[in-house]
Symmetry: C2
Subunit: 200 residues, 2 copies
């Protein structure tokens, strides 16, 4: 089975990813086993919660449910459903009373980050969060180099605007290095983005 979400993201059943990759990694020495950005962030968020550093969760994948079977009183089976475009970002939560909101994306591209990884609804959501005084950013990973950056939403919005005005459809790696914050990969937590937030 090799499926893609409408957004081009690979579909991986959760049970598999958590059972055979996330858990194994926990009690073994540090090395990258081809974990996705989502795996790394889930582990990071779990670490933050366990240490009472922050409470951040990934939102469930939005699904449009069309048909549900009810073979027994206790078991509902969804027989037809479709992936929906998210109207917000994937991650949010609380850090020291403050609202935290972010989206995480990775690219195979070596020299730039394609803006098609985001969609208009998410950009509008980020604007609304900033208006409301929330802390909003994106976490971008270049999978080829295993390099992860935090880019504040303010900057992403400017690059989006540039594209809408006919400019380039991506952010160059240099621009991300300049405007963003490099997050060195760690063992626990894997992607310590809260440390960057403390510096903002």
């Amino acid at each position: 089975m090799n499926l893609n979400y409408p957004n081009g993201k690979k579909y991986r059943p959760k049970e598999v990813s958590i059972g055979t990759r996330g858990k194994n990694n926990k009690n073994s020495s540090y090395s990258n086993r081809g974990m996705t950005l989502e795996d790394d962030l889930n582990e990071t968020n779990q670490f933050y919660r366990e240490r009472k550093i922050a409470v951040i969760h990934k939102k469930p994948t939005p699904v449009q449910i069309v048909q549900v079977d009810y073979p027994t009183r206790s078991a509902a089976v969804i027989k037809e459903a479709y992936f929906k475009l998210a109207s917000t970002t994937d991650y949010n939560g609380v850090y020291k009373g403050r609202y935290i909101d972010f989206e995480a994306k990775e690219t195979q591209n070596a020299t730039s980050f394609p803006l098609k990884n985001f969609h208009q609804h998410q950009i509008e959501h980020m604007e609304e969060v900033l208006d409301q005084g929330g802390i909003c950013f994106v976490i971008l990973r270049f999978t080829k180099f295993e390099k992860v950056y935090l880019l504040e939403a303010q900057h992403l919005l400017k690059f989006w605007e540039r594209m809408r005005n006919g400019g380039r459809k991506s952010i160059t790696k240099e621009e991300i290095e300049q405007k963003g914050h490099y997050i060195p990969l760690g063992f626990q937590p894997r992607i310590d983005y809260i440390k960057i937030i403390d510096q903002l």
Copy 2:
């Protein structure tokens, strides 16, 4: 089709509820047409977002996806999936930079609110949010009287603790009236819970 979620909540396809009830209500005079608490809160949150008062969203229903068909390159169809128990509350977002987090439940019961409407994971999540300085509460509706209350999570946690120590499995209506905050139903917004938060 008369289905129930594992938690006993009635299953209602989203398109139907939004298309034939939510929208009609908007441009007509105020009266209750048997809208669910979720409908009312969705309208309220939309009102808050449009007026830039707050950015609060309901999280998607968590679904465990087991089988996906991919008949064409662009259309993925989920053929088998199951409802999962939520690990957090249903609603969260940002108000003036502060993190807001709540769960909403309704009961047909006239004299008390059964605690079985919540589950252990949600209670633990509320504790974590309070620890982290977030604003956390539940919105409770007695459908028989159309009465809606905001009860701060601190109080819910005490009632939960009482139950775990062998005490009653519900919160009496009197207790909710005493510890909670009555939210009079309005036209726009329907359930003005932000007004209560301002008073806390």
